[in-house]
Symmetry: C3
Subunit: 176 residues, 3 copies
């Protein structure tokens, strides 16, 4: 599959191969890649630190990494440019960060989505976890989280040129 | 996508846009719409009351609303008619209501599904949550619930003219 | 849909109809079927024992059943042969068994997947639960489980001739 010039949204479950699929789009297009990480690397032996190292090794040296745990819209605006691809991994972690720091998630989601009312200056790929297909979670924060994620996905999908659902590493095109 | 004359089953996760997609089918067909709500509106400031108000505002005044938290088959039988569409939102809430009131869910599911052994008198759209794609839940009631939901979806899907899975507001046709 | 001569991977949620769909592939091909069960039948009135009985009755007498709660690769190697189909139900239970007995799941998954580097001697169908589309689970073991399952699905999907996602009893072809 080729990389769309505008916005691509890549959805998938945990360990679905969605990040690798998104990286493959950039590599197949032979574009320079900017990896926008929303994860916070506190170092140490945490699961998250391991995951970050694992992803970094896989991508190799040809990628530049930018960290944007909160100021995600600003990072994309700064990096999007013709001839290079911006890959954001992932939106759900960004939403988590906003919630943990008590931001107004609805407002920030809306202004993030507004970024894409015009096509970005170069290809942008947003990777996100689909989290709404299990049993209703017991706790309110988890329910709010999946509401935020679901709404953001709907808004972005409406603006995206291409939307892909990844399962077992295989893409299923929902749009485009 | 056009509205099938018989039974349409719309599945999707939480905040997947499945209700809005189903409403859009009715509006695009320029049919009168009967909204069969399985939610119980206790009023007040609960999450559920908020959600009901939100959905009601979106649909606008052209819809008639019927409440059927338990007697769902009866409501559909009474309302289905040529030239108007019946939209049930949602089956999973109906199953929850049956379980909470200790009904025989298997028996009621079977007699509900039997309604559709003949095509309904007018278009009927059943919206339901797909809840079986997460980790096995710890508690027995949640496991029973996803068993009931999964079995009902299979039975109805076999009888439906069209089955659509909605993710990020985008339809994926599974049948029809 | 016809049965592929090599490896078929069938993914789906709880009560999605994935087992029945896989059985239907074998029956439509009019092949002898070997059912490789990874579930442990401790007898009694447990949910699992009920589920095993239910599946066994549905399959009927034309199937031979082999139990392989742990030595799954060996069972497949022993049973795969031209003119008969091997159906494994399910991989996620096999992973659970490995974890409960403190096996090295990554190593066993890798050597299991290596079995399929060459096409098997006859059609093999692997059924597995997609478990990564809900909220991140609270406990580490559940998170590890969905990581193991997701990675195994990706590896097998890359080697499979056909990959099918089943929802509400309906197949969605992801590959092949």
């Amino acid at each position: 599959m080729t990389l769309a010039p505008g916005l691509t949204l890549v959805l998938g479950g945990a360990r679905s191969g969605k990040s690798r699929y998104a990286e493959g789009l950039v590599e197949a297009a032979k574009l320079a890649g900017v990896y926008v990480a929303t994860a916070r690397d506190f170092g140490g032996d945490t699961e998250m630190a391991e995951r970050i190292r694992h992803h970094r090794e896989r991508r190799g040296a040809s990628w530049r990494t930018v960290e944007a745990p909160l100021e995600l819209g600003e990072a994309i605006r700064a990096e999007a440019a013709p001839g290079r691809a911006v890959l954001v991994d992932c939106l759900t972690l960004w939403l988590t960060n906003l919630m943990l720091e008590s931001h107004d998630v609805e407002a920030e989601s809306a202004s993030f989505a507004a970024l894409f009312s015009e096509p970005p200056a170069g290809p942008v790929i947003l990777v996100s976890n689909e989290v709404g297909l299990g049993i209703v979670p017991d706790n309110r924060m988890a329910r709010d989280f999946r509401d935020h994620a679901g709404r953001l996905h709907q808004t972005l999908a409406a603006k995206a040129e291409r939307v892909v659902f990844v399962a077992a590493g295989l893409p299923l095109v929902l749009k485009g």
